[in-house]
Amino acid sequence: MGQITLEKVTKKFGDVEVIPPLDLTIEDGEFTVFVGPSGCGKSTLLRLIAGLEDVTSGKMMIDGQDATDVAPAKRGLAMVFQSYALYPHMTVRKNIAFPLRMARIDQAEQKRRIDQAAAALNLTDYLDRRPGQLSGGQRQRVAIGRAIVREPSAFLFDEPLSNLDAALRVGMRLEISEMHKRLATTMVYVTHDQVEAMTMADKIVVLRAGYIEQVGSPLELYHTPRNLFVAGFIGSPKMNIFSGPEAQKHSAETVGIRPEHIDVSRTEGTWTGRVGVAEHLGSDTFIHVHDTGLTDMMTVRISGDIEVSHGDIIHLNPRQDQFHRFDAQGLRIA
């Protein structure tokens, strides 16, 4: 069990309101990702759930029980920190054993759980080392191990992959996803990386300045962003957004079209522009097109390789059914 409900939760640091009244339900077994630009309050929200910060007002329930004033250790949640927060003077085994030792669980059971976690996380050979002797990825796994052995009702991750290099990040992303499938425990995951959010989440919560902009599954957010902020934030490369007469043609104040929904032609098209930088990734080509008269730069994503070079004039054909339309307030027009 691990259902977490926030009711009208707010948080103020002095006079600064970091989290305005916020309602959110995280269902049992769900992988929820909080995503947003830095400073949007996503980490604060996670710390409120963990109990490391007190809520200023509002109510928090875990499994239907009021947990607003419950001490962090009593909430049955385990947290993995951005800096891993391993205890440097203890061996890996003692690090993982620490929560069990604090809970006064007997030695045999401690050993069983540690061995199980170590085996699952490929840490068996490293149990007698200190954190300082481990690589970044191994430290990350120790931090996860320390969380797993507690058998918590929910895991909280605070940007756990941001200190890893790109290749390791992809690997750990998969490991965490697999762990979620295996354990089927609630996970709350904070990140600013929308690729992590899209690939791992069952449910994404997009935050801006403490406000929830949209809650939904990754594909919901991709296909039907509720407003301009979500439209610009979700998707890589970013959606092309422009207003003006071209937008009026679609009877909207602002329209957006994703780079992958534009086709390129040498001969004819709706819009015309000059190629700036073309990024050839092999599988895809990202073309940055200038002088279209719509916006400073349009990004186009072509599957596969295409021969274009700097300065070429090309024509763009947007797929008419893929336009996102927004009104003057930036809200989606259905």
């Binding site: 963990a50 109990g51 490391l52 962090p72 250790a73 949640l77 385990a78 947290m79 920190f81 951005q82 800096s83 927060a85 391993l86 205890y87 440097p88 003077h89 203890m90 620490f98 929560p99 604090m102 809970a103 320390r146 507690r150």
Partner: protein, 287 residues
């Protein structure tokens, strides 16, 4: 960089400092060694020739020798214990956010800036005086007979005075160490269900071990040679005669330079034994 030319230039430029340091150390040390093998009584005939190891034998067989070593060790040990324990507690207290933090921290450091002689005089006359001292008044307020600190509890008094003086040093070093503790580690321990005392024992104290080692090492070096506090308060009576003070008495009060020099060599040996001992115990914390 390391060409033949630059190496000799470097040696040339280091030479003044090296020569000065060597002179500073070696000249007094050789003179002490030199005098320790002589019978040298400045007011009673001056240099009376070589006597071999007589001074060394006389110094250790004197009834004052072992008590003085013991007094030295008690003072050093007592001060270390008090400064480290209270230093850790004070450092934790000062690390808490509070109003007027800057001023409080400066006030806490203040005793370290007071000269040892002044410290001892202030304690002797303002606190520990059995008639007018603040402590005497405190005792009287509770209807008790004031303690004659410097005669009845002389070693304790010296330990208190020196601790007061060295506590700021310990606090300052331990405070900077505590401030370098990663707050996420404490939060992780909190989430792991560690109550405050366990967090202190499992996280804070191990984190401080290196700083404590440094405090112990540095303080030991300075505490072995405390002199002014004893000179100003008890003049070495009531069991407060440390090795340093005994040497002073032999050289200046008995006017026996040879005997005092032999004591000086013993003090050097004692300091080295203690240093070696400490390095062995705590050295592994420093790597």
């Amino acid at each position: 960089m390391a060409t033949q030319h630059s190496r000799s230039a470097a040696r040339l430029m280091m030479a003044p400092a090296v020569i000065l340091l060597l002179g500073w150390m070696l000249v007094p040390l050789t003179m002490t060694l030199f005098f320790s093998f002589k019978k040298y009584l400045p007011l009673r005939g001056g240099d009376l020739g070589w006597v071999g190891f007589d001074n060394y034998i006389r110094f250790v067989t004197s009834s004052a020798f072992w008590p003085s070593v013991l007094a030295t060790l008690i003072i050093v040990g007592g001060v270390l214990l008090i400064t480290v324990c209270f230093g850790v507690l004070l450092a934790i207290l000062l690390d808490q956010p509070m109003w007027g933090q800057g001023i409080v921290r400066i006030l806490v450091i203040a005793p370290f800036f007071v000269m040892p002689t002044v410290t001892a005089l202030v304690w002797k006359n303002m606190f520990m005086d059995p008639v007018n001292g603040l402590l005497a008044h405190l005792w009287k307020a509770f209807g008790l007979t004031p303690v004659e600190w410097l005669s009845q509890a002389s070693l304790v008094s010296i330990v208190i005075i020196v601790s007061w003086q060295w506590l700021p040093f310990a606090t300052l070093i331990l405070l900077t160490a505590i401030q370098s503790l990663d707050s996420e580690q404490m939060e992780a321990a909190e989430m792991d269900g560690a109550p405050p005392l366990a967090r202190f024992g499992f996280i804070t104290l191990p984190h401080l071990s290196r700083a404590i080692t440094i405090v112990v090492l540095i303080q030991t070096i300075f505490l072995l040679s405390i002199f002014a506090e004893i000179f100003v308060t008890t003049q070495g009576s009531f069991g407060t005669r440390t090795l340093t003070y005994l040497i002073y008495q032999r050289v200046l009060e008995s006017q026996n330079v040879g005997l005092g020099s032999a004591g000086g060599i013993y003090a050097v040996i004692l300091a080295n034994i203690i240093a070696l001992f400490l390095m062995r115990i705590v050295g592994k914390n420093l790597d």
